[in-house]
Assembly symmetry: C2
Homo-oligomer: 683 residues x 2
């Protein structure tokens, strides 16, 4: 059996691996694990074929294969041997599962590589899109049995360990983390010369790197994907072996006490000698605290965390890494560093395994950070044939537009209106906040939904249901909807002016100094949409649209094929209303999607597959950065975009789906948008 | 002139560089620096051809060159231009010197690359051998002028610095020390976008590494070569640019307070829970203190030290690196790590530049450490055609024997007798110690020299001259001499027994219990050589010789071509007497040399030329280690070597040079040594 014959169609067995569909011929007697590896089918193994780690489980499929009738494939594999029996008795081996290292091919086979969360090689995201991330983590666990010391061959303990890592795993001339050097001796003896080494394959050096070492068999290691936002820090704790998300959580960024928005934090640094240190300390402590939280939720020892990937906006990026962000507060908005960075996690004060690494995605530009790079990695405009627009709306909107051929990016100063900050009745998305609004085009009466309450406000029992949470304000998504509905129902003109003459028709139109407001809810508090609120939304949406328009011009396109809304704002707004207001260009609504925390998903991808690190590094180098402040046309686009869209032809895709009244309003307009807007702006 | 024509024997100029003798043809107009580099002639340059650093000085030779009569070569170089004039006025440019970056070839030339200590590319050692170490330091200083930030091209500061290091110096995709990342921004601005980067080219990774950064032009960087001995720590401070040794110094190892010898220090670790930490701290503090001392002597800021190379015996190696040495105190004497190691110097608590690296040479075996590797690098048996024996005598003797073909190494337990430790009148080499001894073969009267006194003891005025220092004991070198002279004069037999019958002939032979002693000096103290002293020397020399003999057998040789004595002991003993006593095998006496602190010289070589690091790493991997304790023949050789050599034929080279009485003694003997010794040992 050990005398393996050459490949021969007549005598070799045909083996098909599912779900990848990869197939090949192998001599009878070949272990299934070896066959999988030779075909590039990812099957994990820590113990190196000793049938102790249980990571290499597969199952043998019953049924037909190609032209061969196979009554039971199980006749075509070697029977369960003593090693496998021992494993099954000590650990758990589910019915039908075999250890591929200990199962030999005896004939034609169909093999299932399990995709479950315990031992699979891939991960199914919990997030909105059901994406599969191919697993190719930077860290791999490798069990070896090391020769005992020998006076005839006085190689050091570490040197014999390295030799065995090369012999059994092919790691050529590995390096070792300095803190481990004094520990190797004791760990080898504690494990009775059997140890598991964590090998990091994505160091700055191309050489494999021993980053951690345990006595005996170590069968699990974890990673952290983290998105540090100005307001919120979000985190996933992931098994690096199975790709399973063990826990996800978030916490507020404690830097808020130094300043609500990014610019006020930069000011704090400029005004306080120890400001930078204090903010760096605060954010690092928060990240450490959040690591503690996800570890506690997942029942994981934080010292089993061996790899971290972090994304952040440029100012958070600098503060987290201990870099003065002052330059980012003023032209030319110079990043201290834009490329991807690697650290030992302890160099950034992370309390995880002392050999853990930390990878920070590259920044795209002074206003388009590693978080935008993460979102780009997640949504992948650079992987598309179609023209994809990726928008992440916050105080600034990061905009990426492109396809396989070319990607351009910009940041547009939308201000905080979309987050409810400059809106008279604005508030964060929380119980009591109005999140959906409809206005009857005839009566101008509103109906709305409130976060935490199941019923619409015009449904029976709403008052009772809302009694506990109250109706406290309008959140970001509802601001978009109410202004859009006001436009669709003619309450505001194309230029955004509340039509005071309607006060005669409806008590909802109420005077407010020299202008009029729309009364959304009579209660405590009284919730209105003022003329100033509308102006704030107009400014914000004009800035966003002007940035998008600029990038579309750079790409030479007048429409986009797909739109991805990243971030919390994008998750709640209704794309239809975003289009009615002209936040985004016309697009097939089925191609407009909210993708949640795409930046965090990008971090997760880079954590689970180091190939994605190279992908985003190369992509960011190629992305063309457009600085809106330097583009003379930006101002023109901005002014033009202040008004609402007014022409059905300009939004054919939208016109197909918006409600009839909307169509009517659209149809009422006959004149081209641009000319009229420009004229008006000169008045 | 910029329109450089292709190489053409008729039109290109022939340029010869001295002293390397390298030559080549270059188009008229080529800067001399470029010509040197294209031929591999090492000419330093920090400023990258801007005529500001002054490192690239050369001089143009007058006179004949090949068949061309050149009245004045200076006609064949471009005249001094404005950049060179500016340099000469701001800095100093010696007469006849030119800046090779700013001097163009106009015709056939002979160029002198200065070998002086200020700007040269090589270093002449201060030590015994006048060796030239070709300079190829791991650290290079590179001045660059970086583009200012540009909103249109939002590359980070660091990324633009990297781009310039690649453009101007060819450093592809350099890495950077993490502590520098937050500093890059401020340093670039302080230098008004001109900075000097220290590039380390010998990191574990093959990529260039930015380890330090200064605003403007930085024109000097230093390195440390250090030998950590059990008793003494020795250090050189060296300019990494010129190779000049700026200062050399030594200090005693403060670990002595934990134990005089190595094994008592290992015991201390075993007996005290914090013993290892305390000794690691002590030796690191001592090294830091010594760095302070050499920096103070050399007028150098310790933060300008960018590279360190350390050698040490295995136990010092482990303690310095923070590794428990307990395993080295017992069989199988397992090293925790034997290969070469690299650290950031701060990881070993070194108070130097935060970007400084520390390189530790590999250990050869559990008893043959990085110091022996350093000595091997320095003396280079692996570079020889002849069979070279390298011996470093301390409490253990490290023995290396070999040539280009094959090198073997062993450690032999000589004990401390050679250091005077087990000798009744023994003492350290210090003023008052007897260092040379002669005995008259007729009268058996001694004459001797004392450290600190010019005259021999039988010369007129000795008593007066010696009055201030006294005559206090016998140092290691004199112990060898007095025992050898006692043998040559027949006071002791071939078996080392003091001939009591001679007491009748000379008052120098005095009874001492059941044996006799030789009275060397009647004074306070009274200095005698006792039978026990002779036994101690016999044991020590037998151990040394047995080790050497074992290696000679492994090599299949019965004589060696050259002997190198490393270490303090080797510097003082007379090879002739070492041979008379049979410490070393017969060898042409002109080929027996003391080489001082060869381990430290090896460290220096590895500091100044990273090629030597690869050389010793490869050599150590190939050296065959012989564990004397496991070799059955070692005990036999040891027993046989207890007696003194007795056959002229066995020492033909020695017989040519030793004094007539010695010859007589040699000639008196007729029987083969081995048989008689073995017989006696069985009695």
């Amino acid at each position: 059996m050990l005398n393996i014959p050459p490949k021969d169609e007549k005598t070799d067995a045909l083996v098909l691996f599912m779900p990848s569909g990869k197939r090949g011929r192998f001599p009878v007697g070949t272990p299934i694990l070896d066959a999988a590896r030779s075909l590039g089918v990812y099957v994990e193994s820590v113990c190196g074929g000793r049938a102790t780690c249980g990571r290499c489980q597969i199952s043998v499929q019953e049924g037909n294969f190609a032209k061969h009738k196979i009554v039971s494939s199980n006749e075509h594999v070697s029977p369960v041997g003593p090693k496998e029996q021992r494993y099954a008795s000590v650990r758990e081996l589910p019915d039908g599962r075999r250890l591929s290292c200990s199962t030999q091919i005896l004939g034609d086979l169909v093999i299932d590589v399990p995709q479950d969360t315990v031992i699979n090689a891939q991960v199914v995201r919990k997030a909105a899109t059901d994406r599969v991330i191919e697993r190719n983590a930077a860290v791999q666990l490798c069990y070896v049995e090391v020769d005992e010391p020998d006076m005839h061959k006085p190689l050091g303990d570490l040197d014999r360990l390295k030799a065995m890592l090369e012999r059994d795993w092919g790691w050529k001339d590995p390096l070792i983390a300095p803190h481990l050097i004094p520990q190797v001796q004791a760990i080898l003896r504690k494990g009775n010369w059997a140890v598991t080494a964590a090998i990091h394959r994505d160091m700055d050096s191309s050489r494999p790197f021993i980053v951690s070492l345990w006595p005996g068999l170590k069968n699990e290691a974890y990673g952290i994907a983290c998105d540090i936002g100005s307001t919120t820090i979000a985190m996933h704790l992931v098994s690096l072996l199975s790709g399973r998300i063990v826990a996800s959580s978030g916490t507020s960024n404690p830097q808020i006490r130094f300043g609500e928005d990014l610019m006020s934090r930069v000011s704090y640094v400029m005004m306080n000698p120890d400001g930078r240190e204090a903010m760096t300390k605060a954010v690092r402590e928060a990240v450490n605290g959040l690591i503690g939280k996800v570890c506690s939720e997942g029942g994981v020892d934080r010292h089993d965390i061996l790899d971290m990937v972090v994304v952040a906006n440029p100012i958070m990026h600098h503060l987290f890494l201990g870099i003065d962000p002052t330059e980012l507060g003023q032209a030319p908005f110079a990043l201290a560093v834009s490329g991807a960075l690697q650290y030992w996690a302890h160099e950034i004060d992370m309390d995880v395994n002392p050999g853990a690494r930390l990878y920070m995605l590259p920044c795209i530009a002074g206003h388009v950070g590693a978080d935008a790079a993460g979102a780009a990695l997640s949504e992948g405009p650079h992987r598309q044939d179609k023209m994809m627009l990726l928008v992440d709306v916050g105080t600034n909107a990061e905009i990426v537009l492109g396809n396989r051929e070319r990607v351009v990016a910009a940041s547009s100063p939308t201000g905080p209106a979309f987050e409810g900050a400059e809106i008279s009745s604005g508030q964060r998305a929380a119980p009591g906040a109005i999140e959906r609004v409809r206005i009857d085009p005839e009566t101008l009466e509103p109906r709305f939904r409130v976060i935490g309450v199941d019923k619409w406000s015009d449904e029976e029992g709403f008052a009772e249901a809302a009694a506990s949470v109250g109706v406290t304000g309008i959140c970001g998504s509802a601001i978009i909807e109410v202004v859009a509905e006001m436009y669709l129902t003619g309450i505001i003109s194309q230029d955004g002016v509340v039509d005071g003459s309607l006060a005669a028709r409806s008590p909802r139109i109420v005077p407010n100094g020299r202008t009029f407001s729309y009364l959304l809810h009579e209660g405590e508090p009284r919730i209105t949409v003022t003329q100033n609120d509308i102006r704030a939304i107009q400014l914000a949406k004009a800035a966003l649209y002007a940035g998008i328009k600029l990038l579309m011009e750079k790409q030479g396109v007048d429409r986009v094929d797909a739109i991805r809304f990243a971030g919390a704002f994008g998750s709640f707004i209704d794309p239809k209303y975003a289009m009615v207001l002209g936040l985004i260009p016309d697009c097939d609504l089925t191609e407009v999607k909210a993708v949640g925390n795409a930046a965090g998903t990008g971090a997760l991808m880079a954590l689970l597959n180091r190939g994605h690190r190279r992908e985003i590094e190369q992509t960011v180098r190629k992305i063309e950065k457009i600085e809106t402040a330097l583009e003379s046309k930006f101002q023109e686009h901005f002014v033009n975009a202040m008004a609402m869209p007014n022409k059905v032809d300009a939004f054919p895709k939208l016109a197909e789906v918006v409600s009839l009244p909307a169509r009517k309003v659209f149809a009422d307009e006959g004149e081209a948008t641009g000319g009229r807007r420009r004229r008006r702006s000169r008045e």
